[in-house]
C-alpha cells in the first residue's frame, strides 16, 4: 500500500498532477452565486407579475360575461407565470443546494426562504410597477402568451357587449376621442357619464369604458374607469344595459 504514497508524490513532482488554481474555484463559486441571485430576482419579478395580475384583475367581470366566480377564476389564472414561478423556485433550490453549505439546510427551510424572499421582493417590484412592465413587454413580444393569462385588453375590447378600452386621444365638449388597443378610433359620447375612481377626461389617459355601441366607431359611455383600477359600479351594467343618460 505504501506504493500509493510514492506514486502520488512522484506524479505530483513530475507535474502529472497539479493543484487547480484557487481562482478557478473562486470563479465557479461566484458564478453560482451570481446565477442564484439572478434566478431569485427573476423569480421575485415573476411573483410581481402574478401580484399585478391579481390587483389588475376585474374580479366582478364574471357577472358580465356570464360565468360563475370559480369558472372565471379558473379561466383567468396567470398560469404562465405560476408555472414559471414553480420552475424558477425549483432552479433556486437546486442552485442553493449546490453552494458550499447548501446541503446543511433542510428542504422545508430552503423552500420557506425562497417563498418569503420571492413574496417580499415581488411586492417591492409590484409597487415599482415592474410587474406591469414585464406583463406588457411579454404581451407584445411573446406569441401565444395572452392565451395563458387573463387578457384584460381582450375582455375590454367587446363593443358589441358594451365594453371598450384604450387611450384618450382628443377631448371635446361632451365627448372624447379614444384609440383602442387595435388602433381603431372611437368617438365616445360622455355627457352625464360616471367617472369612477381616479378616471379623468385627460389626454393620453388609459381608460376602460362600459356603455353602448351606437354605430361603427361611435360609443355612448355609461361609466369610465381608469385602466389600472378595478371596476366599481359595473355590476349595474348587468341589471341595466342602457346608458345612464341620454346622449347629447
Amino acid at each position: 500500500m505504501n506504493d500509493i504514497d510514492k506514486n502520488i508524490i512522484e506524479k505530483i513532482k513530475s507535474g502529472k498532477i497539479t493543484k487547480k488554481p484557487k481562482w478557478i474555484f473562486i470563479i465557479e463559486r461566484t458564478g453560482l452565486w451570481v446565477l442564484l441571485v439572478s434566478t431569485t430576482l427573476i423569480c421575485s419579478a415573476t411573483f410581481g407579475v402574478i401580484l399585478f395580475s391579481i390587483v389588475d384583475h376585474d374580479w366582478n367581470m364574471h357577472e358580465i360575461i356570464g360565468k360563475t366566480f370559480f369558472e372565471f377564476l379558473m379561466i383567468s389564472m396567470p398560469y404562465f407565470w405560476i408555472i414559471l414561478l414553480i420552475l424558477l423556485s425549483l432552479l433556486i433550490y437546486i442552485e442553493f443546494k449546490k453552494t458550499k453549505t447548501g446541503y446543511r439546510y433542510m428542504p422545508h427551510i430552503i423552500i420557506t426562504a425562497i417563498a418569503l424572499l420571492s413574496v417580499i421582493l415581488g411586492i417591492f417590484w409590484h409597487f415599482l410597477g415592474v410587474g406591469e412592465v414585464i406583463h406588457e413587454f411579454v404581451s407584445n413580444n411573446i406569441p401565444y402568451y395572452e392565451d395563458f393569462v387573463y387578457n384584460k385588453k381582450d375582455v375590454w375590447s367587446h363593443p358589441e357587449i358594451g365594453l371598450i378600452s384604450g387611450r384618450i386621444s382628443s377631448i371635446e365638449d361632451g365627448r372624447f376621442g379614444l384609440v383602442d388597443w387595435n388602433g381603431k378610433m372611437w368617438e365616445v359620447y360622455a355627457s352625464g357619464t360616471i367617472w369612477n375612481g381616479t378616471a379623468t377626461n385627460t389626454l393620453n389617459r388609459r381608460v376602460k369604458i362600459s356603455g353602448i355601441k351606437d354605430d361603427e366607431g361611435i360609443f355612448s359611455a355609461r361609466e369610465v374607469n381608469d385602466w389600472k383600477e378595478s371596476v366599481q359600479i359595473i355590476k349595474k351594467m348587468k341589471q341595466n344595459r342602457t346608458p345612464a343618460r341620454s346622449i347629447e
Binding site: M1, N2, D5, I12, K13, K19
Partner: protein, 207 residues
C-alpha cells in the same frame, strides 16, 4: 514511503492537525505525504466497508481519492474538518466507481463475503440497541451481519459512518452532504429497520 521519509520528517508533523497540513501542503507538495500516510489505512477500510470491493479495486479508488483531493486542495473549506472532506470525496468516488462497474455493493454478499469489519459493525450496532439483552450474542451476530446486507444503502452508509468510522452527526452531515436533521432521522430509521430485520431473521431460524 522510505523515500518520502527522507524528504519529509513525519515525526515533525505528528502533532499538527490535518487542517494545518493542508495549509503546509499548499506551500510545499511534499507535506501531502503526511496526509496520505494518515488516511490511507482509514480510507481503504472505509472503501471496503461501504463497497465490498476487492483490495485491487480499493487501492485503485484510494489513489483516485488522494489525487482528486490534491487537485482540489485550494477548494478546501477550512470551516470543515479535513477528515469530513476527504471522506466525502471517498464516498463520492466509491459511488461513481460502483456505477461504472455496476458492482452490487455489500447487500448482495452472502455469508462468505462477511468479513471482520462487518462483524465489528454488527457488534457495535448491537451494543447500541437493546437486542443484546434478548438474544444470545453469538447467534445474534450472524443475524446482524446478514441483516446489514439487507439494509438499503442509505441506511447502511449512516450506520457504517456512525458506528464503525465513529463519526458524529455533523461529520456525517458533511460527508454525505445531507442536513443534520436528515442524518439523525436516517440513523434512527436505520436502527429500527435493522432491529426489525434481526428479529425477523431470528423467528425464521427458530422455525
Amino acid at each position: 514511503m522510505d523515500v518520502l521519509r527522507k524528504t519529509v520528517n513525519f515525526e515533525l508533523y505528528k502533532e499538527r492537525t490535518d487542517e494545518d497540513l493542508v495549509v503546509e501542503t499548499l506551500k510545499c507538495d511534499d507535506i501531502y505525504a503526511v496526509l496520505i500516510d494518515r488516511y490511507q489505512k482509514k480510507l481503504t477500510r472505509y472503501i471496503q466497508r461501504i463497497s465490498s470491493l476487492s483490495n485491487e479495486d480499493a487501492e485503485e479508488i484510494l489513489q483516485e481519492i488522494f489525487i482528486k483531493t490534491y487537485k482540489n486542495l485550494n477548494d478546501f473549506d477550512t470551516s470543515l474538518k479535513f477528515s469530513s472532506w476527504i471522506y466525502r470525496i471517498a464516498h463520492n468516488e466509491v459511488i461513481s466507481h460502483i456505477q461504472k462497474i455496476k458492482t452490487i455493493p455489500f447487500s448482495s454478499l452472502g455469508q462468505e463475503g462477511i468479513n471482520e469489519e462487518q462483524e465489528s459493525l454488527a457488534e457495535k450496532i448491537a451494543t447500541d440497541t437493546d437486542i443484546e439483552r434478548e438474544f444470545d450474542k453469538k447467534i445474534m451476530r450472524d443475524h446482524i451481519t446478514s441483516a446489514l446486507g439487507a439494509l438499503d444503502k442509505k441506511y447502511r452508509d449512516v450506520l457504517i459512518l456512525r458506528f464503525l468510522e465513529e463519526k458524529d452527526y455533523e461529520e456525517i452531515s458533511d460527508i454525505l452532504q445531507k442536513p443534520i436533521g436528515t442524518v439523525s432521522v436516517l440513523i434512527k430509521r436505520a436502527k429500527e429497520k435493522f432491529k426489525n430485520i434481526v428479529v425477523e431473521k431470528n423467528i425464521h431460524t427458530e422455525l
